[in-house]
Amino acid sequence: MLGCVKLSGILMTNTAAATELDAFYPIRPECQADIPKTRFKIKPGKTLSARRWDAAFSKDGHLDIAKVLRRIHRGGIHPSIKGAVWEFLLGCYDPNSTFEERNGIRRQRREQYGIWKDECQKMVPIIGTGRFITTAIVTEDGRPVEEERSRNLQEIDTVGTSSRSSLDANNSALDKKVTEWKLTLHQIGLDVVRTDRALVYYENEANQAKLWDILAVYAWIDGEVGYIFSRVRQCLKYKSNLQGMNDICSPIIILLENEADAFWCFDHAMRRLRENFRCSTGTIGVQSQLSTLSQVIKIVDPKLHQHLEELDGGEYLFAFRMLMVLFRREFSFVDSLYLWEMMWAMEYNPNMFLSYESGSASKGGAGTSGNDKHLKQFGKFERKNVKMGSNDQQLPLPVFLVASVLETKNKRILKEAKGLDDVVNILGDVTGNLDAKKACNEALKLHKKYLSKIKN
């Protein structure tokens, strides 16, 4: 009964909701035809609203995360509060903290970002000016490119000297780091100008520059954030400007107006994605997720896996983009936000904040498994991992999401695909045709199936 009442409410508000969405993320009129259509709708009674969100906090600011997760599972997050909710979903803040504690953290983080940005600005003065670059400012060996020579030379020297005094032994290593970073800046610029151009938001150069600034600062400090200082980790070589990061960062700066807040939210999103962007000779981190995908399909759908292997697709490279930019290219802008928050809600682990702050890789959860109330603070996906006692970081939800997409195309791939090109083609058809919620639920089912099959 209740369902019927709700349903009629939804039908009536459909058009209004669509216009409401357009107002939040306006599309350039000339681009309407080129972008996938949006399926997400704000559903009263299902979508987490501003009112419900506010009501989920206790007087001093403790958040009833279980209630929030339930709501997000049902209908996503209302655009007006997405940014604030994402900060929690991504583990920027502990739901078990007070308003006051969080304000303190926020203040600290804003200051820290300011310091890093200043550092970058001293090396490359265009940072923070509302403009950005798309052509190289230094040559491979670190010398400034002609045009910039007069403007930048002084700054470069200053920074070089001040760093030298404190880090004499690492002198050349630092110089190398500075050069490497500078070499990434125009690449970031080239990506920025090609990011979500269909959105009115990016018609404004200042907004593009904001995206560039954040990515530039991130590229500078990446490898240091929350962990051991970079020199120890240099061997790992996180490529801090690998294409695709712009796709991850773009929605975040639209949702969080304060640049420093957006930076930290992006940083937290990257903590779960950075492995994908990790580079060593000849391989990219995402390939480990691809091989997990291969394992999963081999178990849940051996026939499909065998067929793909016969087509020289055993490496599952056709799924590269889906994993790398979390389906941003397969969904409309709004739908990818919906998918992400749905995924993050499912993967949610209440210990995330503490594990990030302490720098430990393990989020834990075991030992609490007997406690039902506590379990509800975990997302549906993570809950299963905790219950099974598996804390397997190698089985991320996005892999099962790709698996579920492959499963929806299973028949066509088996019947029609005679080459890798056909597989790419068939998967290309999913663009704009996927339902985020359905895809997530299918992914959960596959996860369950996979876990039970490997158990036996």
Binding site: R194, D196, Q243, D312, G313, F320, R321, R329, V424, G428
Partner: protein, 209 residues
Amino acid sequence: MDVSATKRRLLKVIFLGDSGVGKTSLMNRYVYKKFNLQYKATIGADFMTKELRIDDQLVTLQVWDTAGQERFQSLGAAFYRGADCCVFVYDVNVTKSFESLSSWHEEFLKQAEPADPKAFPFLLLGNKIDVDDGHSRAVSEKRARQWCDSRGSMPYFETSAKQDYNVNEAFICIAKAALTNEEEQEPYFESISESVSEVETRGGGGCAC
């Protein structure tokens, strides 16, 4: 048996070059006859197809678009295999994109392992010649042609995807080069065609030369 399939040949072409030189734009210009400023950076690899007729031979051109960032190169192998032609693209206004060509060339040979590297067809496109009416040009046509000559007289085209300059001409040349290569590979295909019926039908079109 599908009659149309028996006459059509599938030609696989790979586009390589630095990030932002206009690979996606050139393909879109040729395949969909359009240009817009909303292209996103290519992640991974994707392809577009176009049917065309070359000297009475109906062919399907399958053009593979790749990501330009050097870090992605290693992912290409599976997609590069079986290519009939490889097209390099650089931006005439960006010296670095020209200087990278040699490493793109090496990378392709390493990954695609063509049977006869010396005979394998390559092309070079110098794109974005419209920018600033040519005033911001950083690589001269002469320099580009010299590079091509040093690589076994590789055909060279100066293009503008934005203004639709020379794009069609370049693609016709690409298709012809790919077709020639595919025909030269024919003996190899015939040797395995007994067990693979689709391959057998491919050879039915006869030689167009």
